[in-house]
């Protein structure tokens, strides 16, 4: 999962991160004129279609109002459920917004340099999303800059699933615009146009991040048309997602409880304390949570 080749060893990574920290203000400066003129082409091309586009947008607005109402109702329901279950989810405001300051194009790496680093709370491994879906993950973090490895990079490996059927696969980048799906199994339940999301397997990424739609290949395989490619990757959010760790040995607290009960001569009972359930992380171990609750 998410291999890091020898050319990106720790020593080079820290040196490179330090260098990009120094260069990022210059790169940010160089990106400003590009950002200023990026809308010129679409602006002139869109002039002729404005009337038709306006009518379409009005129709979409009417439809969107229905979905907006539905979203508000669902949000209210979810709030009630979360309050009842004491669920803690990563809040939207926790995400760290960042601009792309460098966009190197080349055969060796598909990456973006963003203008936020560890000073802003960015760390290696954090998922990066844009308005449409998952973009990639942070793999080199400096103080004021960080490099994001895109899903299309040769070294990118992300566990995903089909939203409709929960069929699992690994999304493998190969420097093409459409990364491929591997390890789907013999008879995978996947169809053209299926929505592909992160599966959260291995605890590396949160579950359910939108990635793209499935596209069959001539060879019988599957590739993904990335949602994040709907627009140039400019402004992104870094999600400070803490990787879920493997739980410690589960048997020990139970064994200790049984032993204690045997010594006291009573029946062993292990009560689950009132622990908040985190949506993205496994629930805490009862013994661990009890230790934390203790004064």
């Amino acid at each position: 999962m998410f291999d890091r080749p020898s050319s990106r060893s720790e020593a080079f990574a820290s040196f490179r991160a330090g260098f990009t920290d120094i260069a990022s203000p210059l790169l940010e400066l160089a990106a400003q004129p590009i950002r200023a003129v990026k809308g010129i082409g679409p602006y002139f091309r869109a002039q002729g279609d404005l009337a038709r586009e306006n009518a379409e947008l009005r129709q979409q607005l009417i439809e969107a109002r229905y979905w907006e109402d539905l979203a508000y109702r669902q949000r209210d329901r979810i709030e009630v459920y979360e309050a009842a279950l004491n669920v803690q989810t990563a809040a939207t405001e926790d995400r760290i917004g960042a601009w792309t300051v460098a966009d190197p194009q080349g055969p060796f790496v598909q990456a973006r340099l963003i203008g936020r680093g560890s000073d802003s709370g960015v760390a290696d491994g954090y998922p990066v999303i844009n308005l449409y879906g998952l973009v990639g993950r942070v793999y080199e973090t400096g103080r004021r800059s960080a490099r994001v490895l895109l899903l299309t990079d040769l070294n990118s490996r992300v566990p995903v699933m089909v939203d409709r059927s929960n069929a699992r696969a690994i999304l493998i980048g190969d420097n093409s615009e459409y990364p491929r799906l591997e390890y789907l199994g013999r008879n995978p339940d996947i169809e053209e146009g299926d929505r592909i999301v992160s599966s959260g397997d291995d605890g590396v990424l949160p579950r359910g991040l939108p990635i793209g739609r499935a596209v069959p290949t001539r060879e019988g395989g599957w590739r993904i048309e990335l949602y994040s490619d709907q627009a140039p990757i400019d402004f992104v959010w870094v999600w400070p997602y803490v990787r879920a760790e493997q739980p410690e040995a589960e048997e020990e607290p139970v064994v200790e409880a049984v032993e204690d009960a045997a010594i006291e001569g009573g029946a062993p009972t292990v009560e689950a304390p009132d622990v908040p359930v985190t949506a993205d992380e496994p629930a805490q171990e009862p013994a661990e949570a009890a230790a934390e609750d203790a004064p």
């Binding site: 080749p5 020898s6 050319s7 990106r8 080079f12 040196f15 490179r16 260098f19 990009t20 260069a23 210059l26 790169l27 160089a30 990106a31 590009i34 950002r35 003129v37 990026k38 010129i40 082409g41 679409p42 792309t100 300051v101 460098a102 966009d103 190197p104 194009q105 080349g106 055969p107 060796f108 790496v109 990456a111 973006r112 340099l113 080199e140 490099r147 040769l154 190969d174 420097n175 140039p232 400019d234």
Partner: protein, 172 residues
């Protein structure tokens, strides 16, 4: 061997050289794909190195060429040393030599640049694949080569024109 005219005002030329190198490196790394329609990116640093190595060879000693390549590796996230090595070797092989340095006609300059470009990209592909531990993607390299060959004559023409108009040389 520096010409008498070049000795008189080398500082502006040196400053101009540094500026063009930095601009080329920044432009190479800048998010140009944000602008719709721009999907080709020539190898700007190699063009600048090649032209300066022809106009003022003492501005582009091997250590400077290596440093520019290394900076490009750092900025673009490529494996360390790939572009440094490829620029160093290709410029060493194809740079203009002799008293006159770079000729004043466009075709021989473009031809020699094409050789430099091809060699640089072959070396970059080989060393990059070695560093990555798997074959690198050759398509972006081909696109870079084509974009550079298309863009270079225009740049070289401007340089030659300026060189003709000012006897002291490019920007100097």
């Amino acid at each position: 061997m520096r010409k008498p005219g070049e000795r008189n005002a080398p500082y502006w030329s040196a400053l101009w050289c540094v500026f063009t190198v930095i601009a080329a490196l920044l432009f190479q790394a800048a998010p140009t794909r944000l602008i719709e329609g721009i999907t080709l990116m020539p190898t700007w640093p190699l063009m600048v190195i090649f032209l300066w190595a022809g106009l003022r060879p003492y501005f582009m000693p091997p250590i400077a060429v290596f440093a520019i390549g290394l900076t490009q590796d750092l900025l673009t996230g490529a494996p360390m040393g790939v572009w440094a090595l490829s620029y160093l070797v290709s410029i060493a092989v194809f740079r203009f030599r002799g008293e006159d340095g770079m000729p004043r006609d466009l075709p021989p300059i473009v031809l020699r640049f094409a050789g430099t470009l091809l060699l640089a990209h072959v070396i970059a592909y080989a060393s990059g694949s070695f560093a990555l531990g798997q074959p690198a993607d050759w398509q972006p390299l081909i696109i870079e080569v084509i974009a550079s060959i298309l863009m270079f004559p225009m740049l070289a023409f401007l340089v030659l024109r300026r060189r003709r108009s000012r006897s002291s040389g490019f920007g100097g």
